[in-house]
Amino acid sequence: MARVELKQITKSFGILKAVHESDVVFEEGSFTTLLGPSGCGKTTILRMVSGLERPTGGDILIGGKRINDVPIHKRNLGLVFQNYALFPHRTIAENIAFGLKYRGVNKADAAQKVTEALDIVRLPGVEDRYPSQLSGGQQQRIAMARAIVIEPDVLLLDEPLSALDANLREEMRVELKSIQHRIGVTTIFVTHDQSEALAMSDKIIVMSDGRVEQVGAPAEVYNNPASVFVANFLGASNIVDVDVKGRGADTVTLDVPHFGAITLHADRATNLGDATRGKLVMRAEKLHLADGASPEGTVSTRGVVEAVDYQGQLARYFVRIGETRFQAMNMIDGVPFAEGAEVSVVLNPDDCSVLANEA
């Protein structure tokens, strides 16, 4: 177990700069997720921590020690790949015991540890099988067992769930998180799936184009995105330009087109600074459509449903308000609204956050 720190780390591939000067900290024992779209540099950061890639600049510290020049096989890290990379020519027991051999563990102890590791990943009794005789989810567990049995200082997971089908993926993410919780190893998890990141992480690092966009707990990143990019990447958001009308002791009052004046708690305006104009972020799942007149005491306006994307218990509505198209994700209560329906759109100010206008 150890804290991992990246200081002013950069990586270039020829003329392409995959990672721009970034400072990142992975706290001891925490589960931290690198989240971002394809090609934003997540894997590159993970590979630099693991030693598979040399940073172009900056330092990597594990447990306070600079390890830039330590080769990968001396770093004591557990690595889990998207395709598991179990050795096809070795049995499950041999796969799991592979790392123990280089740590001078004798045969009897190794067998004992293999059994324990298989218990941890809840797949006992498969010691003598070959990887090709296991299902994808089972191979995933073995890959996990192989990585944790060496008691690594840091566990590195690169999209370990993306090769699994949807149901298994949700099951495995609970499983993975609980294994990590039990052994308490510092974990760096890479994904481009926002729901995975929100569900599993202690801390999320949102990246875009080789830069860190925001760092924070899942709720923080979700509720209070630091940029338009983050707001759009974590779920669908409606973003509108707003004027700042006034500021109270710990409130900010904004003039929102169509909806009128709303007052936010200052917590939700930390990214606004002293600006007089800003962007209001309204989460699609926080805009509520209602039949008939707007309920009393709410901030609301009227709109027309333009399109409905039916998703079972949920529906995504595209609603036209004036010249603007808004998205609203609502639970379906009875019958979903039909296209062309006139609805009132209700906004709860406590669910919004506001950003400064980006230059």
Binding site: I72, L79, N83, A85, I150
Partner: protein
Amino acid sequence: MSAWAFIRFYTILVYTFMFAPIAVVLLLAFNNSQFGGFPIDGLSLRWFAELFENEAIMRAFRTSFILGLMTAAVATTVGILAALALVRYQFRGKDWVTTFLISPVLVPETVLAVGLLIFLRWLHMPRSFTLLLLGHSIIALPFVVLVVQARLVGIRREYEEAARSLGASPVQTFFSVTFPLLLPAIFAGALFAFTISFDNITATIFWRPSGMETVPTQIFGMLRHSVSPEINALGFVMICITVGVPLLAGGLARYFSRRKV
């Protein structure tokens, strides 16, 4: 006659033309008569017996065998290393190196043979067994490189990266992961190298030191005097080796791969 019948007839004719001489050799090897020819007047193994008593032929066999094994060893070792470099590492001039390694297949063997001889003359080195080994290795190398390379491309890098992350040094990683996964290709490459060396004649004639004979040059030499029935027996043995060894190896490889997984 319909077009299909014609094609069938023509195909049979072509194959007959190609395989009939081989069949003749195989049959005559068992002919009792002193003068090779049909009809066969009695089966016997006497030509095989004479073969084994012919000191020159047995010497040629030993030479060919040792040369083949050593060529396989050299070409396979160099071939594995070359394929590793070409597939796993980035360096400048890689395309040139690839072309250079493969070129012995493209250059006519006579040109290659004369070229190497002139080069050695220039270095004031005499023809020797080492030269022969070197030459055969050069001729066999492209096949080993191509076979091993093809397999290596198919072995995902993550296996090696996983091994490294678990604590194996680069060399340990090679022997515990890369090598076992490459084994079928290495085996096939070595076999190629052996057979290529074993039945090479053109280049061998140029390179062999005087007095040294391999099986093909020995046959060639014997043919210049007369077609002795011994040659038919020798041909039979050669065919058995060059066809049988790869078949046997293929069978073994399939047996092992089935047992493994």
